[in-house]
Symmetry: C2
Subunit: 444 residues, 2 copies
């Protein structure tokens, strides 16, 4: 095995491509980077003698299969809905497949076919999902091994802006998919608390945040993810009484975001009529009851905010009361908001992003209840070499190496919850600054 | 033309079948009532010499076509998603088609084919939609004809319980599809106010109700429908500055229903885990933050209600704090609520329902702004002969007669907004007690 195919040369590919090219000489690999934009692919390979960039339209079945055929392992960085076709090719042509995306039900159905052919299809091999699985499973297995019984597992992740680049009143900038940020939390969050299922509907998700202390960083807000129960079984936590996954935000973020939800501005399901003619001011007015007073005053009254509250200042800073034209046709409110935020929350060239991930494990051992907290804080270098991009790409690269070295015995469709994966990946990630700091206290 | 086919013999068919059988002798019609339950169909025909009840599985294409072939006009009372297949048969076999359901986009696409064959496909020919279109269009055309310029059109309808049968603190019982009541308003309501589009998201739709005075009845609450702008064009109201459609409820209903929305109980999109083991008490608790105090106390605090408020009494009366088991597997919160309400809001045998429909037309004429209010209040006889069922069925019947008499010149896919339809239907409906009372005042 010596040929690696990376499909997709977009922003999230850099750290992965750099990693495999760096190792290529040593291990005798050849790396093909394929993209609809061949120049972008070539630029990422950057003349490296063990690699080449090439053109691929993934919808062209024959071209795609021909390229896959000539490689031993495929890393797909395509949009999630395109993985399945690549996966079916990989079954047919007997190639391993690795992605950083959530594994769909359709993908899991390929499990038997992949196992029969002794292939590994590894999904959720990035940061979140990815490093969260691996770092949590390592601790869960350690606790179980020493005889501990887990009482609670809570896991929080945030893609944030580093304090030194925090230059706006929201204390937030986009470091990943803006659309996902705007639509985050829609539906109902489910989690488990003292053996009872708990539900938080979207209309109060951002009002019901909890405060979490991050060692060396201070207090952050966390709102619950929709999917806290999703990994209960695969983590081997079927009997645990408490399980919660959440997203980390800076203090003050959730209350302000909740203003958008109350107003109705995060809805992506219907277009605003004649949106191209609206100003932000008239857009806001469309969601207010008629009344006297300025749109800003009526917004404050509606939200129950003082005129000079933090929330109102955050709305001011976005220009939501300005008479600037929106200039997007047929836009949903969510899209209008996304476009505004894309401009306001843009990462400047020298800005550093920051990933925070924290796991909390409560467990009983030797008659004591203990709390183990495991925390990762990692900053990027600038707006290109972000911590986010690095932590998505490097685990993919390390896993490619493990497969190429024949160190992976697992077959079928998987996510990285097994020791043979998490141990070497977590270990090597330390070289890249991915170090979880641990604290343990006795609760009772 | 002499043969009429009615497909579907369920609850909503009685008034229609009685109407066409009553007229059958006089006009020489023969009425075939077809249902998956042939006994139900025969029971509805009740031995009338001009009718018969017969078995039909609508999914059996050949049986369905054979039956349609032998008739001149088809009234489909099937669930809305099944109309389209019947409609395609009617195109093929050259038969007219009448339904009380909303006309889908797919149905509108059959317009040319129906017109080419000189067929009338009439949808929305019941109460709401149906009588609302006809009674509003008659007034709109009258106002335009005398030179009036419409400034506002507001239209409200409610399927309610008559005061003499109003025996519960919600002042509401189910007189039509319970599921639609539970899911009502999800999405975002859109309407037009002083030439500006206005939006009310679901999370505050029931908080932002308006009070409307119904002559002889008093004040009611109205929440906005999603679709206020839907008929602007077909009503010929493209330039009107104000348009709003809404649903009428008894005073106190909206605040109490809003408690369900705040809690998250009207969501039909995900199942409650292990719902079969829950009690109503634990169901409520699953939506509350942990804390001290009883579930009822914490619910009151969460809702911002006094412990003995009207809203809390309404929740008490439903038994939401009782330890009774829910006993439904894999149920969504909306389904749990629907099942509870089905029991609590059941129409008793002698209960009378009540339809209220009110249109408000503001228009300028001779330098004056006038307000014309047109109001229908109609009560049913009992839980079988409801006003609701009558007002859905009789317009269908009258329209069948008009088509059979060759009095309809319109062809293609339509809703009843044309004079040749609304004039005779509204006129004949008076014989059935459907009388709109009008009041006109000068506003300025």
């Amino acid at each position: 095995m010596k040929n690696i195919l990376v499909i997709g040369a977009g922003r999230s590919s850099t750290a992965l491509i750099n990693y495999v090219l760096e190792k290529a000489k040593e291990y005798g690999w050849f790396v093909t980077v394929a993209d609809a934009d061949p120049q972008l692919a070539q630029q990422k390979v950057n003349g490296h003698s063990n690699g080449r960039g090439t053109w691929l339209d993934v919808m062209k079945v024959n071209d795609r299969r021909e390229l896959i055929e000539r490689n031993d392992i495929v890393v797909s960085l395509l949009p999630a809905h395109l993985h399945l076709e690549v996966a079916q090719d990989c079954i047919k042509l007997k190639k391993h497949l690795i992605t950083a995306s959530y594994v769909s039900k359709e993908m899991y159905r390929l499990g038997d076919a992949a196992r029969d052919r002794e292939l590994i299809f590894m999904g959720e091999m990035g940061l979140d999902p990815g490093i969260d699985h691996m770092s949590a499973m390592q601790k869960i297995d350690e606790i179980k091994e020493k005889g501990g019984k887990l009482h609670a597992f809570r896991s929080y992740t945030g893609g944030l802006i580093a304090p030194e680049s925090d230059t706006n009143p929201w204390h937030y900038k986009f470091t990943w998919n803006p659309r996902n940020v705007v639509l985050a939390g829609q539906g109902t969050a489910q989690y488990l608390e003292e053996n009872k299922y708990k539900y938080i509907p979207y209309n109060r998700l951002f009002a019901q945040y909890r405060l979490v202390d991050i060692p060396t960083m201070g207090e952050y807000e966390v709102y619950a993810n929709r999917d806290s129960l999703l990994y209960r079984e695969v983590y081997g936590l079927n009997d645990i009484p408490n399980i919660l996954r959440g997203t980390i935000r800076h203090r003050g973020f959730c209350d302000a975001w909740n203003a958008f939800i109350k107003l109705g501005l995060t809805d992506g399901s219907y277009p605003i009529l004649e949106s191209e003619n609206l100003t932000y001011h008239s857009f806001m007015e469309a969601y207010l009851k008629p009344g006297s007073g300025s749109v800003r005053d009526r917004t404050a009254v509606f939200l129950g905010e003082d005129l000079d509250s933090d929330v109102m200042h955050k709305l001011d800073w976005l220009g939501l009361f300005s008479k600037k034209k929106i200039n997007i046709e047929n836009a949903t409110p969510a899209l209008i908001l996304e476009h505004l935020l894309l401009d306001k929350w843009k990462l400047e060239e020298d800005d550093k992003d920051m990933i925070i991930m924290q796991h909390e494990f409560e467990y009983d051992l030797d008659g004591e209840r203990r709390l183990l907290t495991s925390t990762l804080v990692l900053k990027g270098n600038d707006s290109t070499d972000t911590a986010m991009a690095r932590l998505v790409g490097i685990p993919l690269g390390i896993f490619v190496k493990l497969v190429m070295q024949g160190k992976i015995t697992a077959t079928g469709v998987n996510i990285p919850v097994m020791k043979e994966v998490y141990d070497p990946v977590i270990e090597e990630l330390k070289e890249y600054g991915v170090v979880f700091e641990e604290r343990e206290t006795v609760l009772a």
